[in-house]
Symmetry: none
Subunit: 198 residues, 4 copies
């Protein structure tokens, strides 16, 4: 890896955490300078603009999450196990200091929905991937007679994701994990209700 690529990667990694904590508009170049240890010139040499860096940082965070889901799903064959893995991974991810600022999809969606079309578009794509992933699991489970045929896969995806995101918001707001745990327990029971066998 060239030195340039290494520096670029370093900037993205540090910036991602800062953006996720302070928000896009709330993060100043000075914040990024402090986090990366580089001067403005050093950063602008790798990114055309703050937007450019924000895009890269968001992509980095989402790739990181996708990676964790991939690993978690590795070897899980039944739809039930896979859905549980999704929930567990989502909540486990928030232990990582990288997501100290909360869920990037949630944060970015809230901040950008009325103000930053570029970011919003990127969040939409990311959210589509996530929803599709969950819906696919459901459809796969239905095909295998594992999950109830009456389920709407898209609705299940919405419910799972919405509940997780909402509980992340609440736990961040209070600074404790109570709401995370409540929602996780609920979702695990919810997943059971999706299965064929009574």
């Amino acid at each position: 890896m060239s030195k340039a690529a290494l520096t670029r990667s370093h900037i993205i990694q540090q910036a991602a955490g800062v953006f996720n904590r302070l928000g896009y508009a709330g993060t100043s170049m000075a914040d990024l300078m402090a986090a990366t240890g580089l001067k403005k010139g050093g950063i602008y040499n790798h990114f055309a603009s703050k937007d450019d860096l924000a895009f890269a940082a968001f992509d980095y965070l989402f790739d990181w999450m996708q990676q964790r889901y991939s690993e978690a799903l590795q070897g899980r064959l039944s739809a039930r196990d896979r859905l549980i893995a999704v929930v567990e991974t989502a909540y486990a991810s928030h232990e990582d200091p990288l997501l100290q600022g909360g869920c990037p999809l949630l944060n970015t969606a809230i901040e950008s929905d009325d103000t930053h079309a570029g970011l919003r578009q990127r969040v939409r794509v990311a959210m589509d991937r996530w929803r599709t992933m969950v819906a696919k699991i459901v459809r796969y489970g239905q095909k295998n007679d594992e999950l109830l045929a009456s389920l709407d896969p898209d609705e299940v995806a919405t419910v799972l994701i919405a509940t997780m995101e909402g509980s992340v918001m609440m736990s961040k707001l209070y600074g404790d994990r109570t709401h995370l745990i409540h929602a996780r327990n609920h979702l695990l029971r919810y997943i059971d209700t999706l299965c064929e066998t009574a």
Copy 2:
């Protein structure tokens, strides 16, 4: 009502919508001037600072929501009806242009959690009220043998609120109501599962 109080009320009302759409940091005094029709001096005659106005605007929005919940609960006696009313009110509220920017609690929680202690505190208080309201309904239902005694009222509150907030975020992100509807349907069924089976 004095002219001063009238103007102040007008400013709050307009500012509330702008803050909720653009976020606290994303809203400039120029935006507020445009929304209210007043010049800077006129606004600062009624509020000591942007913070001061932001607090007032948030309180206004939350009071408005509380009002809607109060009205919706009027006359609903059974716990089931009351919980349904909460869900329906939450979703109906988002039809109002005032909440065009999404749920104020969600938006403010996400933006302020790592940056604006004053706002965060206010959101916590508001969220406490909301959670308490739901939990009370559950406890009341349990006392009347209407809801399952095994339920944890706080968990029900978390699940209900988290699911609603998460789905609001998703529908705002995509600009459609699909996710709102999915979550609403799910929650109505969820409420049924809380009841003592007759």
Copy 3:
């Protein structure tokens, strides 16, 4: 005295102290509101502008000082006694809370010399009066063969006034009266050297 004139007088009196402490530019209308207990409108009803009030306040202070000199010179016949009275009055005046901010002539001269032509003009007139008063005493003493004929009355005035003003500045700077006392002692001896008899 009409109520209007009373209010006007009250404003001037309070404003004079504030202006003298904070300086002309350093005093805001809010400061004047706090000092007078009136609202902006109430003040502007009596004075066309901040300048207008500043002029009146300066004049008030200078008149007040002139009054004290007049009283102090009452009955003092010899030039020596009269010069001593001038020095003693100058230093005694600074005990009054009205001059808590220092000497108005000094303060206003320093602040306005390069910035506020109107005030500067007023200070010049006041300073002329003061210098003339001292010089007259000297000339009178020379005519009576009480003071040395070789003295330049204008120089004596300059020296007396300059030394007093400089020492006021120093004592204000340090917040103690040491320099006031040093200068006073010096000036009393200096006055002795002006007299004919060895």
Copy 4:
């Protein structure tokens, strides 16, 4: 000297003159922009705040004055010659365009005594140095039996400085040098009276 240091020095030099003429509060960033030829961003790259720059500017002026005194005292051995050099240097300094606005100690003391604690502290330190310098000369002269043993060195310092400062104020007020000359002549004679009569 690096370009940064050069620019910083340029800013200080220009700002010093402006601050000394218009006063600290009377000087706006716009004035400083005009004087330095830089835009606000350029200035704030070198100084954290207006205060920061004001401190640097005051220090620059005081250092400049100290430098002149050092040079003037070079080679003057007798206390009498040294005191004369102090007086002559003080008055000669005011010919320099840098001190066009008057004496920085006087101006800053008057303006800051009731309003700007930071500046006042700095003036105090500067004034202490100046007073100490004069008092040391007196003590040195007394040890050499050149000056009267009865003198209070601190009083002499106060008298010399006060008279000079007061006369600077008066000459600035009128825009002529008459008062400067009067005071200078007086002080030279005063210094003679301090000497042991041969």
